[in-house]
């Protein structure tokens, strides 16, 4: 069966520090991968999505970037964190059809 792993679960980082969040999917190949951010009262905001290795689409210009170095690995990064980067980050995958997305358990990022 397919599973999605996301880590770390929680992270406290100082302003100006770098960030790397990792998401991996097991049990499938060539998944579509997504990064969402959830801020209080703002629902889920799509940040990036990828339909294949090296293919990244950015939905919101910001302080973050994404990479997909392997088929089932999706990384969210920042060179210098801002206070406004705080939030709950969720990774999701879909096999490319329309059966619905499967989400990871999320990373709670607090920038201090």
């Amino acid at each position: 069966s397919q599973t999605i792993h996301q880590w770390p679960a929680t992270l406290v980082q100082p302003v100006g520090s770098p960030l790397s969040l990792e998401c991996t999917v097991e049990g499938t190949s060539n998944p579509n991968l997504y990064w969402y951010r959830q801020a209080a009262g703002r629902g889920l905001q799509l940040l990036f999505y990828s339909v294949g290795i090296g293919q990244i689409s950015s939905e919101v210009p910001q302080n973050l970037s994404a990479s997909r170095p392997q088929d089932r690995q999706f990384i969210l990064s920042s060179k210098k964190l801002l206070l406004s980067d705080s939030g709950f980050y969720l990774c999701a995958w879909t096999p490319g059809g329309f059966g619905g997305y499967t989400f990871g358990s999320g990373t709670r990022l607090t920038v201090v």
Binding site: Q6, N32, Y34, Y36, G41, R42, G43, L44, L46, Y49, V51, E59, F88, L90, A92, G96, G97, F98, G99, G100, Y101, T102, F103, G104, S105, G106, R108
Partner: protein
């Protein structure tokens, strides 16, 4: 462009009462519709989805939703709620026949069930 509006940010109800969480969408093309539930500090879990066919969709945990194309709505209902249904609920939409495009979510509705 698509958009989703969840008409109520918070819905308080008593245990065993019925509940309806309202969702309206806007899109220039045909869509697929979803409802997700999120418990505190967890990821999102799919409750139900409408892809095609019957407009009344049944999901997990006794929830159901009805797709109404003329009113561009996809309201979520449960005839009798439990304390354990307390969570945040998200309605989402994606364009039909556009593989790879992402889900667009509403801002969520917090359902609070009390005894």
């Amino acid at each position: 462009a698509q958009s989703v509006t969840q008409l109520d940010s918070q819905v308080p109800v008593f245990e065993e009462a019925p509940v309806e969480l309202r969702c309206n969408y806007s899109s220039s093309v045909s869509v697929y519709l979803f409802w997700y539930v999120q418990y505190p500090n967890q990821g999102l879990q799919l409750l139900l989805k409408y892809l095609s066919g019957s407009t009344l969709v049944k999901g997990i945990n006794g929830f159901e939703a009805e797709f109404n194309k003329s009113q561009t709505s996809f309201h979520l209902r449960k005839p009798s709620v439990h304390i354990s249904d307390t969570a945040e609920y998200f309605c989402a939409v994606s364009e039909r026949n556009q593989a790879g495009t992402a889900l667009i979510f509403g801002k969520g509705t917090t359902l609070s069930v009390s005894s």
